[in-house]
Symmetry: C2
Subunit: 434 residues, 2 copies
């Protein structure tokens, strides 16, 4: 495609969907890319650049000459520029901001000021706002002109002279109403908005509940400052799902496939080594009972069984708690209900496992006392494991601590230690019968 004919290249290229243009761009060589920068105006290239991953943006920005880059950035939408600038060196970022027009620069600075993962940080400033006193005909005329630049024109927000949000009207409502009627008569004044400080996960929950395509973001004084569109929410949900999985695997931020083996190992090693030290605590617990073990080595065989069962049951409870938190299903009164339910579930699971083991072990090992020790240990440790699997993530969520502490392996390790303590304590006190 990239032969020599500018005209032909541009024609073919612009027939493609931006996302497919992006894929072509990513597959070209350095010299082909240089040619693309010649063929495409900074404004046209801005659209491709916006779609790149931030890591790639950093890389390719260095290939551009400064004027081209500055020109391109001025054509990007403010939220994308802010996302990018938030990730590069501060002095470089402020140099870029200074090269922009006053208004754009201000928008970007504002966006950069919001905390990560809040509504303010993910919103866009490219929205269309209306006055309640306009006629629908006038609004449609405005859309004709401003439409191509706005992030969405399907939901339009109505503000008063103080920029306060007073209503919402969908393009569908506009189209199906009389051209001469006023926005006032068509709009809905019950508009759901989110404050700039709202957590992005809660915003996603709102979208799911109300099937929104867009939601307005307001300041504490109800001034409209931005909107969030549903395509941003798809990204948020993906991010949150990855975070949840990371919590289960103690590998937050390390599921990225593009990392080299070495950097993946570097990111994951702290977890594995930290967890290994926890494992040494467990080793210490067993060490305390060396005498018991020495007299009945058979007991060692059930270490994995106790550990696995307590670990698995705890992880199931963790899954319930993590999903409930993610879905926003939890209200205060249901917290204790949930813990009680999990405890009940643990009692029943423990009972089932205990009965199974008490029947099987006498056949395999001929010892009713051994069966009794293992059975009672399983019953107690599973009951406790469900409670720990539920309470730890909830407590951490409440204390707003880093949820990584609630990750699967940590809970599993805690449950391992408790399970083995129970097992060896019972075994030690009943050693005379073995």
């Amino acid at each position: 495609i990239n032969a020599e004919n500018i005209q032909q290249f541009r024609e073919l290229f612009f027939e493609l969907h931006p996302q497919d243009q992006l894929e072509i761009y990513l597959e070209t060589s350095h010299s082909q890319r240089q040619k693309m920068y010649e063929y495409l105006s900074p404004e046209e290239f801005a659209e491709i650049f916006e779609e790149l991953q931030i890591e790639d943006q950093k890389k390719y920005l260095l290939e551009l000459n400064e004027t081209y880059a500055q020109d391109m950035i001025s054509h990007m939408s403010a939220d994308n520029v802010a996302d990018f600038l938030g990730e590069i060196h501060e002095t470089k970022a402020s140099a870029i901001i200074e090269g922009l027009e006053e208004k754009d620069a201000q928008d970007i600075k504002e966006l950069l000021a919001y905390e990560e993962e809040t509504a303010g940080a993910i919103m866009t400033k490219e929205f269309i706002s209306l006055r309640a006193s306009s006629t629908i005909k006038e609004v449609i005329e405005v859309l004709r002109q401003e439409g191509p630049d706005a992030e969405t024109i399907y939901y339009l927000y109505v503000i008063n002279e103080k920029f306060e949000l007073v209503g919402v009207v969908s393009l569908r409502d506009l189209i199906t109403s009389e051209p001469d009627s006023l926005v006032e008569t068509v709009m809905s004044s019950r508009v759901v908005s989110v404050p700039t400080s709202e957590d992005q996960e809660n915003v996603a929950t709102l979208f799911k509940k109300y099937d929104f395509l867009a939601v307005p973001v307001t300041t504490e004084t109800n001034k409209l400052v931005g909107i969030i569109t549903v395509d941003d929410i798809l990204d948020v949900m993906e991010e949150e799902a990855t975070e949840d999985i990371g919590e289960f695997a103690a590998s937050r931020g390390a599921t990225d496939l593009t990392l080299s083996a070495f950097s993946a190992a570097k990111k994951r090693a702290p977890w594995i080594i930290l967890l290994m030290f926890f494992g040494m605590i467990t080793a210490g617990v067993i060490g305390q009972f060396e005498e018991t073990l020495e007299s009945v080595v058979l007991l060692a065989g059930f270490i994995p069984l106790i550990m696995d069962s307590a670990g698995n049951t705890g992880t199931q409870s963790l899954a319930v708690a993590v999903r409930s938190l993610a879905l926003g299903q939890l209200e205060k009164k249901s917290l204790s209900k949930m813990v009680m339910r999990e405890f009940g579930t643990g009692l029943m699971l423990g009972l089932m496992c205990a009965v199974t083991l008490m029947i099987i072990i006498p056949f395999l090992h001929g010892s009713v006392w051994l069966a009794f020790i293992v059975g009672v240990s399983i019953f107690l440790s599973l009951s406790i494991a469900t409670v720990i699997g539920t309470i730890v993530p909830l407590a951490i969520n409440k204390m707003k601590l880093d949820p990584a502490i609630a990750s699967g392996p940590f809970i599993t390790t805690v449950n391992d230690i408790i399970g083995l303590l129970i097992y060896f304590s019972i075994a030690t006190s009943l050693i005379a019968y073995l």
Copy 2:
């Protein structure tokens, strides 16, 4: 609110967002609900009923008298009716279908025929299609009339006389174009569509990639049969995230908070008991090495450490594989690259852990040989654990087997067994030095 005044109730009620109406409905008592059925027409109540969970739909349908119910169902959109009917008893479902108008009945039967979790099953039949030869003015007139009923009017699909999909035009394009121009000149003929049989997870990936608000669904012969809108995709992503978490915790379908402790235990017990039997295999492995253990009981202390480390490393690799599958990041050539990368990561993690242990253990236990045995075992088992954590989910995905077999606990158990086999084999062969 539910005093006695119909007029007043209806006024207040219809000012609310449908989702909030739903919440009020769910909080009312049986007799209050009976009053609501009187106050609201079947058509009005259909909108609330559509938003209910399927379980609740089943429950509340029984409260309605038959004519009211049938009338209400005829006002629901076909995809929602199909979802509901797919879950109730077949004879009852066909009785309801027979009560509907011919056209509606056919739509519903068609939707019911698609396999679950495919594009066909989640699509809606309420879409607006255009001819390329219409003028924009004509189209907007059509939207004015049909707009309120369609699922979305923001993306409109253009078909030819054979109902084949030939293009797409957004309402934004229509608004910003001359009223007299033809659809043909405005539409884009490069339209991305999905076949009815496409997996819903792949459809979600398309939405994320292209930031779609809607996507057309076609038959194998490119006939347009439905559309999928972004709000359905939010639900799909949520479902898939819950499934992924379930895979990690071996608790698929059991993260539902509304279950009683007993039914939660019943759903989870098969996993826990099955995994407990796996744990007994591990017990058997240890049993094989009873002699070794008897002579050096200290070895038992490191069982948890080996198990935990191998399990955690395998789970991290599983997280990488599961996320990559969910994000659709994997092409064929990158499969082996991914396994190789994980193996490399495993070698490095193993090396780090081994070195740490070889330094610490001599201080704690005074035995260089013990340190050597544990260190080498950790190194080998972590290297293998990453490969198993990666290959198993990929292989299962390729063979289209139930991914539950690839769940965290299973992989952990396999890695436990391998790790302990390595550990005890090395220990047995070096027992003379301990």
